[in-house]
């Protein structure tokens, strides 16, 4: 069984990766020529950075050591085109939504409520990266039932 701390650490790991990937996408996105994408990436970057920092504090508050960022991350493919950057950002938010949904299932009380908020925020951000509404965001295991 996944403990609450395990789920928090897994979420922190996802946030480290998200901050890295979104930074990479942002560095390749033109603020003037791709304004909608740039704005969406910037907003997502700031949201994930804030969540990462909050998680670090929360995990430390539990007396545990927050997991550090990985030494290196694999950059998503296709970042040399706007479509590829949209796709990479969308895939990232979908992955984060799955992580947040798992966090919902592993927590309770105020921490769960926070995780529900994170899931809803990620689902909303998916739309800014050309995503379309899903029936079970973050919980694909229900999609084919």
């Amino acid at each position: 069984m996944t403990t609450e701390l395990d789920a928090l650490q897994a979420t922190l790991a996802a946030e480290h990766a998200a901050v890295y990937v979104l930074g990479l996408i942002g560095s390749r996105t033109s603020e003037s020529a791709e304004a909608p994408l740039y704005t969406a990436v910037r907003g997502a970057y700031e949201a994930h950075r804030d969540t990462r920092d909050a998680l670090i504090g929360e995990i430390a508050g539990l007396g545990a050591t927050p997991s550090p960022a990985a030494v290196a991350y694999t950059a998503p493919a296709g970042l040399d085109t706007p479509d590829g950057r949209y796709q990479a950002a969308l895939a990232l938010e979908k992955a984060c939504a799955s992580t947040y949904a798992a966090l919902v299932g592993a927590t309770s009380g105020p921490r769960r409520l926070e995780a529900i908020g994170l899931l809803n925020d990620a689902a909303a951000r998916e739309l800014s990266f050309r995503g379309t509404p899903e029936i079970f965001p973050g919980a694909d295991e229900y999609a084919d039932r």
Binding site: R112, I135, G138
Partner: protein, 172 residues
């Protein structure tokens, strides 16, 4: 109690029916559907008044309440879809609500058709109803004892968030 599976299980017949519905006819065509009457037999599956009925767990009660809220929201969407300009835009939302009810092993029955004078009134009603449903799903996900149920309900709330963002805007 994070990883406990969904505690609520209806009969195998209902599960099979849900599976068939999920794989067979999920096309959003609910135009012309009429709300079934609330007959005693229609609500038997959620009744706990029988002397031999087992005591419902808090999660079972939560699921039943959530199904009622989903069915009510579905009723608003279906009624709004009777207006031709809204038929297509609201089809994905109707499908989503049907799937949500199916996964909870509920039935789409007993919904009421609100009076919706025109497109503007219909959209306002849908927006209002979906916002209420979203709040209810978040609340239910927060209160669920089972982690798996909490995850499912939270996912449904996120789905409603997405659909709310893509609905045609309600007129001021």
């Amino acid at each position: 109690m994070p990883d406990r599976p969904l505690v609520r299980r209806r009969t195998a017949v209902l599960t099979l029916a849900a599976t068939v519905l999920a794989t067979g006819c999920d096309h959003g065509d609910d135009i012309g559907a009429t709300p079934p009457s609330r007959s005693p037999s229609a609500s038997a599956s959620t009744s706990a008044s029988s002397p031999s009925a087992p005591v419902r767990t808090p999660d079972e009660a939560l699921v039943d309440t959530t199904i009622e809220q989903l069915v009510a929201a579905y009723g608003v969407v279906v009624t709004a879809r009777s207006l031709k300009p809204l038929r297509r835009p609201l089809a994905p939302l109707a499908r989503a609500h049907r799937r949500h009810v199916e996964v909870l092993e509920g039935e789409l029955e007993g919904w009421t058709a609100p009076v919706l004078a025109d497109r503007s009134a219909a959209l306002q009603a849908v927006h209002r109803s979906e916002k209420q449903l979203h709040a209810a799903l978040v609340d239910a996900a927060t209160r669920a004892e089972s982690g798996a149920l909490a995850k499912l309900l939270a996912s449904m709330s996120a789905s409603v968030t997405q659909f709310l963002s893509t609905l045609p805007p309600a007129a001021p």
